[in-house]
């Protein structure tokens, strides 16, 4: 009994010594990244806010694109949608929060509604007055939606491409997306190509009317409607305001 206590003390000392050292490791080096897509939605963004890396007061415009047509709803901590718009939909959300989307009315997948989640990790710095001209795109292609409808979980980390290592092809809409094994750190893999901006998770989970936890609909960050028209026709109707 006494020996186990001493052993426990030794293990505590080990953790006490190693954890601060792990926290001081540089996050920019490849192969190790404190962020991970396997953590619960919102954990990575919350860690960045607590670390003071990002400013949660910044409203980052985002753009949600469906394969052809459809309806996009935005939730922010409540079961009632904040915005509803036709694809492509554009909103502004707070950096450092995660939100829930609802996509439905897609002609490719009738009678299918999905609830993807988006987690905003970083922001852009466009010239003043042109913030909404450069939203962070969330492209939900047909393959991802089909896989999610079949019960799979598709996780995408959207990164800002490093111009010096850019290629001629569009890395966001390529035919064969860059896929890594599900056990790998997706954020670290994205950091090799640029700056991770957001995490998109598309799954088949749907909230029930009585058992959906409040965190399912997001962490409650601020939202704002888009004041400009995206490339396609977009009708934004603000149903609720926070």
């Amino acid at each position: 009994m006494h020996s186990s206590r001493i052993l426990l003390t030794a293990l505590t000392a080990v953790l006490f010594c190693t954890l601060p050292a792990a926290a001081q490791l540089p996050t920019g080096q490849p192969g190790w990244n404190p962020l991970n897509q396997h953590m619960p939605p919102g954990w990575n963004a919350d860690m960045l806010v607590k670390a003071g890396v990002i400013d949660p007061a910044w409203l980052q415009p985002i753009r949600v694109e469906l394969p052809s047509k459809g309806t996009v709803q935005l939730f922010s901590g409540q079961p009632q949608p904040v915005f509803e718009s036709a694809s492509p939909a554009q909103f502004s959300v707070s950096v450092g929060h995660f939100y829930r989307l609802r996509v439905a009315d897609m002609p490719e997948f009738p009678e299918v509604e999905l609830y993807p989640s988006i987690e905003i990790l970083d922001r852009l710095h466009p010239p003043a007055g042109q913030e909404e001209q450069f939203p962070v795109p969330f492209v939900l292609d047909e393959a991802d939606l089909k896989a999610a409808a079949n019960g799979l979980l598709i996780t995408r980390v959207i990164y800002l491409e490093r111009p010096q290592t850019a290629s001629g092809d569009d890395p966001l809409r390529r035919d064969e997306p860059l896929t890594v094994p599900s056990g790998d750190n997706l954020v670290a893999a994205a950091a090799l190509h640029g700056r991770p901006m957001a995490i998109l998770r598309i799954g088949g989970r749907t909230p029930s009317a009585d058992s959906a936890p409040p965190m399912f609909f997001g962490s409650g960050g601020r939202t704002a409607a888009a004041t400009i028209q995206p490339a396609a026709d977009l009708t934004v109707s603000r149903q609720a305001s926070r």
Binding site: S3, V14, F16, L153, G168
Partner: protein, 473 residues
């Protein structure tokens, strides 16, 4: 718990803790061991010693024995004796690790002889009289900047950048750059070029002296962020995987593996050739006797036999014999014929008087001094817009100007486009006074390298303009 068991566990615990202290560099326990600062350069204002007026630090003058008075403004820095000195005018606001004995030689005179630093070493005796010097406001020396700074305090770039926002240098991954000389110094030679990377825009010319020169343009920044994504697919369905049914016994087949390395025998016979050297100049004849070397090498005989799970390695006795006998290597000195003949040398020298006669004639040189300034080329690159999205077409304008007097020959401009820019074929336009040609080639990174050549030399104080279009990918 017997005491003997505790004594057995104590080395284990101590070794584990010691291993942690050794391996983890950022360990909190060993932070005091490494007291060196983490950041050498810091522009942050150091912490003030006090927040109130009464405890504001007062500058003192320290006098070292045999040394002139040294102004010791208290800045919380390491002094000349390698000691942390912080003296508070109020007398109560000393920092951590500072010990000051107020029992000085006289009232109002602080004797620093008892000042000790953290490790307890005692410095040299110092007398300080804070009341004899006027109070001085706090003054902090800013840290050394990491990059050369411009007047406004921002990092100064090597290349002049034309950007729609001052944040282009802080967040370059959101911008699309074209122009300038990115990292490696580029050069345009006669027909070759070196150090040209994507985004580079260079002008090369030959001046009137025949020297070939190269100059980079400014850098144009266009706000055009592009995004990508990395995907992972995982299953949410419950999956049952049966690796082995209960009661199943794995039977690994007993394979009879036998690996036999056949003994080999290598015989190497090296027979030296007969060497003979003769030098007739000095009459020396050197004759080396022939040598013969015979070597016989026989490899080891190895046999390995694997049977089932048992492995047995049998090494047979090896035979290695090396025989190197120089049978005819006997040095026969009596066979060497050595002959040398010395001839007498006769040297004669004759000295005679000489007479030098010189005639000086007046000469007049008439010439024309060329006061024209050597020509040089300035290249400026501009874009017709500051922001762009994928699919937009940009128009670049390159303006070259000869600011000298003499004309410039073989003027050419090279623009190595970044992969995100695609040249719009046939969009190049030279101005009427300076026609030229365009050579388009692939740059190996998914885009084009454009080479513009002016057909005629660029006269002094004249400028030419080239425009072309690119499409943003």
């Amino acid at each position: 718990m017997p005491l003997s068991h505790l004594q057995h566990l104590r080395p284990l615990v101590l070794s584990v803790v010691g291993l942690c202290l050794t391996v983890t560099s950022g360990c909190g326990l060993n932070s005091f061991v490494h007291s060196e600062p983490d950041h050498v350069y810091s522009t942050a204002c150091p912490q003030t010693l006090d927040a109130e007026e009464r405890s504001r630090p007062t500058p003192v003058e320290a006098r070292y024995p045999g040394q002139a008075a040294v102004d010791h403004a208290v800045r919380g820095a390491v002094d000349a004796a390698g000691m942390l000195v912080r003296v508070s005018g109020g007398g109560d606001g000393f920092g951590d690790g500072e010990k000051l004995n107020h029992s000085g030689p006289a009232a109002g005179v602080v004797r620093l002889s008892d000042v000790r630093d953290a490790d307890g070493t005692r410095p040299r005796s110092v007398d300080a009289a804070p009341a004899a010097f006027p109070r001085r406001s706090r003054h902090y020396t800013p840290g050394e900047p990491r990059l050369p700074q411009a007047v406004d305090g921002r990092p100064q770039q090597r290349m002049e950048t034309t950007a729609p926002s001052p944040l282009a240098d802080m967040y370059p991954d959101e911008y699309l750059f074209d122009g300038g000389d990115r990292s490696q110094a580029a050069g345009l030679h006669s027909e070759l070029q070196s150090g040209i990377e994507t985004e580079d825009t260079l002008a090369g010319w030959v001046d009137s002296s025949g020297n070939r020169r190269t100059r980079a343009s400014n850098r144009v920044a266009i706000y055009a962020p592009r995004f990508g994504s990395v995907r992972a697919v995982s299953g949410l369905v419950a999956e049952t995987q049966i690796n082995k049914a209960a009661g199943v016994r794995d039977a690994a087949a007993v394979n009879s593996l036998r690996t036999g390395l056949a003994p080999q025998q290598n015989i190497s016979d090296v027979a030296l050739q007969r060497l003979e050297t003769k030098r007739r100049a000095d009459g020396m004849v050197n004759l080396e006797p022939a040598a013969e070397s015979v070597g016989t090498r026989r490899l080891m005989q190895t046999q390995k036999t694997d049977k089932g799970q048992q492995s047995r390695n049998t090494t047979a006795s090896a035979t290695f014999r090396l025989r190197q006998a120089a049978i005819l290597a006997q040095h026969r000195s009596n066979a060497i014929a050595w002959t040398q003949r010395d001839f007498p040398i006769v040297t004669a020298s004759t000295d005679s008087l000489s007479e030098v006669s010189a005639v000086f004639k007046n000469q007049q040189t008439i010439g024309l001094e060329d006061q024209n300034v050597e020509g040089t080329l300035h290249i400026v690159k501009l874009a017709d817009r500051d922001t762009a999205v994928q699919g937009d077409v940009l128009r670049f304008t390159i303006r070259v100007e000869n600011t000298g007097d003499r004309p410039l020959q073989d003027v050419r401009i090279v623009d190595n486009l970044t992969p995100r820019l695609e040249y719009v074929s046939g969009s190049v336009v030279f101005d009427d006074e300076h026609p030229g040609t365009l050579e388009e080639s692939l740059n190996g990174e998914g885009s084009s390298m454009l080479t513009f050549r002016l057909n005629e030399p660029l006269a002094g104080h004249s400028a030419g303009t080239i425009t072309f279009q690119v499409r943003v990918r």
